[in-house]
Symmetry: none
Subunit: 512 residues, 2 copies
């Protein structure tokens, strides 16, 4: 790969890459502000943190939309030595810089900084409202955030397109609400039926494995052992504790994961850790050392990002082979409470299907129903069809319809997710896209890595990581999600691999 | 107090305060970068962290030296409604903003970046030279740094003043080398004689109290109990662990302390925590909520800052009354290893006097001799009177003279401190100024707070903190250190209170 600072690069391209690098450096500081806010920031610092975030995003936005940057992009686009071959790294970089620049220049600076400021305050309000189970306390903030986000969508939207698509495009470039609906619509009854079949069966494997005492400090050590086996580099990353687990691919050499522990239900923490670890491995595999600031050092889309986290969490972590390796480690750290369990107990217990209220704790089958619920709701909230005040009622009604259970309170209903509180709207569907991509990649991986399952039994995940690095991580944003999927798997995205995976595994677990 | 956003404020003053607030907001983000680098940043992120810090300080410097900011200061200075009463908050703010602006604009950018660049290399050279005990290796870097710092002093110095004063002024505004010499000169023989008397006595109290096993996690809990009793607000601050303890008054509502633990020598950690806690209480007491960005929300000087840390560390923490309250807590957290000790053991052991080579490990009496040594040397090094090549010899000669012991090698001599390696020259004397201010304030506090000692015996430090808030913290930079001292104590700064404190306490401990 040619380097942007290679003497053969024309000066306008080199300057463009330098300016982008500076913008992305400012952005990376903003990520530290967010990470710190979630992890260690004292409560009383929240108001000033909002000012800091607003000041920094204003500076970043100003630089990301500067006339000089636009001129350089145009000059590079016109330079056939750079863009003559559309498949070249330079051409891909310039195309994506054009996309980013156009998106950024469409947003007025005051709106960007208002979104950052109100979002930061609103997130604090959400924390309190969730804790107090008080939707009324959060409602004015949610109205503000949807109002601001609607203004944002109006700035970004293409003529004739749905407002929602303009938001979705930020997270899943080129996807539309209608396309997603077209994939989700046939998936939902298949999933609902599978879940109903399982629940209807009445008989379920025991869940004693999930309910043993396991000290949080020891869970933390166990999680680190698993992350190391996955290939996560702790000299360039961390694992901390937050209310809501996340991964921040903060900067070159700096990928931070978070998880959360309780004294029991250790697999919730484990799968949270593996999930964020999957994101973290993608971030650590991007060519940031060589290309920081260029689109070719960035991830493609949230759907592809989520395919990485879900693959490690569900396709690896909920496999029988994983437990053959992991169970002795878990037993060691649990200090006795897991000693009586066998691999089969672990495998079955971690594949229980049980409709429940909390998305992040949902099993592999019901999870996608949680996502589809949010996708439908946020699309109606943005269009204005559904007023914010009706959200709790509509949430609970649809939840009953999708999952067959009654939501007991808003804390376990529409107040459970942080996303909307700071304007992440159009983000939820990427979770299910991730599951679909993961399933489709996983079938190809099985065909292309002989001995994968045997390696997993020994805790050897290196061939899998090497495959992901080679096929996905190293490319950054060089290809679109759809093109990458077709390149790797030979087919467009489909719901079939995910259904094959779930039906195959769960029919086995439940003896259907 | 009138607020800067009060409708009665003229628009140029309001705009000035807004611009300053923005500059200080950027600066506060830089403090988070530093704190994170010392606490949680992964090792591999170091190179990018330097890029982040450089990008942010360039933005901050550009704003702090902008022509608009200078014009607004001039316009406010000329507005008699603001500056007509020199004692008003507005007049004080404008004076200090002028000072900051002139300091920032007097230094040529190339010198600032040269100091940063060479300072960073020189600090690396210092680390290696100290480790190898090799002054010759460090000498060319020290010559460069004193040369660059001399150039800096020439840019900043007032006509007719000593070069050294221009450097000192950055840390202790309006102080001069001659004034400090006038205070230090009578102090030195009195301290030296006291130390010699103690050492000559031969008999010393036992130090077993200092050498018990004490788990770091439990030390951390004990430290937090002490900080809470001192009045440190954990909803607006934190305590973390770093190699070198520090306090960062990062932002409004955000004051972060660090300390370090070993499995023994728990009082090292305790006094580190109380010291940084004293700095932290000052930061939490500054009127940042109302005035962030204005000089009236900043601390006066390093000497006054150090008076706060030293007061809590030495005047409170090394008192018999403190141990009457603290010993039962320490015993509880130590889990048995302190049970046999009495208050008197704790009091005597934490007041041992023993000449030693390393300043940061020195006791309350010898500490100031270490500082005076450095003050005299750096003043002669800047004036050129003492050539760098003669530093080790001169250090060792004076050390023998001040502390009565021979320095075994340069690692434990002139290579021990990091300060000079990156240009902190004129900084050392503020450590002893802090001790002097603390002692002088302490005598006044005793006169003005009846029952202070009885309260301390019960762990009630609220009257002390209230006094510090009222007399010192809330004023920010409204008064100079000298004026504040005279206002509070009715006298100019003198060495007598510190000597009375040390002689009184140590004669008791040693039965002289």
């Amino acid at each position: 790969m040619s380097s942007p600072t290679h003497p053969a690069q024309p000066p306008h391209y080199a300057e463009l890459c330098r300016m982008r690098r500076h913008v992305k450096t400012i952005e990376s500081i903003g990520r530290l502000l967010s990470w710190d806010q979630e992890t260690y920031m004292p409560h009383a610092a929240a108001a000033h943190r909002a000012d800091q975030a607003a000041a920094l995003s204003a500076i970043e936005h100003e630089q990301a939309t500067s006339k000089r940057l636009g001129d350089l992009i145009a000059q590079c686009e016109a330079d056939k030595g750079l863009t003559g071959d559309p498949a070249s790294a330079e051409a891909a970089n310039i195309r994506q810089m054009r996309r980013d620049y156009d998106l950024a220049t469409k947003l007025p600076t005051d709106l960007v900084s208002e979104l950052a400021r109100v979002g930061s305050q609103s997130q604090e309000a959400w924390k309190e409202a969730r804790q107090k189970n008080d939707f009324a306390m959060f409602r004015p903030w949610l109205e503000k955030m949807f109002g601001l986000t609607r203004r944002k969508a109006e700035c970004l939207k293409k003529p004739g397109a749905e407002l929602y698509d303009a938001l979705l495009d930020e997270y899943e470039p080129d996807a539309t609400g209608a396309q997603i609906e077209a994939v989700f619509t046939p998936l939902r009854p298949r999933l609902s039926n599978l879940v109903k079949e399982i629940v209807g069966r009445g008989k379920r494997p025991g869940d004693a494995f999930l309910n043993v005492p396991f000290a949080p400090e020891r869970q933390h050590e166990f999680g680190q052992v698993v992350l190391k086996a996955m290939g996560f580099d702790f000299s360039a990353g961390r694992l901390d504790v937050t209310t809501h687990p996340f991964c921040s691919g903060m900067a070159p050499g700096d990928t931070r994961l978070t998880t959360r522990y309780r004294g029991e239900k250790f697999t919730d923490a484990l799968y949270g850790t593996m999930h964020e670890g999957g994101h973290g491995l993608y971030e650590q595999g991007l060519p940031k050392a060589e290309r920081f600031g260029q689109p070719l050092a960035d991830s493609i889309s949230l759907g592809i990002h989520e395919s990485q986290s879900r693959m490690w969490e569900n396709f690896v972590g909920r496999s029988r082979e994983f437990w053959e390796w992991a169970l002795p480690h878990a037993q060691k750290f649990a200090g006795g409470s897991l000693d009586a369990f066998k691999v089969d107990d672990a495998f079955r217990a971690t594949n229980l299907v049980q409709p429940s209220y909390i998305r992040v704790e949902a099993d592999e089958a019901t999870y996608n129903l949680h996502v589809m619920l949010r996708f439908g709701l946020e699309r109606s909230l943005i269009s204005g069809e559904l007023p914010i005040k009706d959200l709790p009622g509509e949430w609970n009604k649809r939840f009953k319809d999708f999952l067959g259970v009654d939501v007991p309170d808003d804390r376990r209903g529409c107040l459970q997710d942080v996303h909307w509180s700071f304007g992440l709207i159009g983000y939820f569907p990427t979770y299910t896209l991730g599951n679909l991509y993961a399933a489709q990649f996983w079938e190809t991986i099985h065909a292309e890595i002989p001995g994968l399952r045997d390696g997993m039994r020994r805790g050897d995940f290196a061939p899998l990581l090497a495959w992901l690095r080679e096929k996905i991580h190293r490319h950054g944003r060089r290809y679109s999600a759809a093109d990458l999927c077709a390149m790797i798997t030979g087919k467009p995205l489909s719901a079939d691999p995910l259904m094959r995976h779930l039906e195959g595994k769960l029919r086995g677990v439940y003896g259907l």
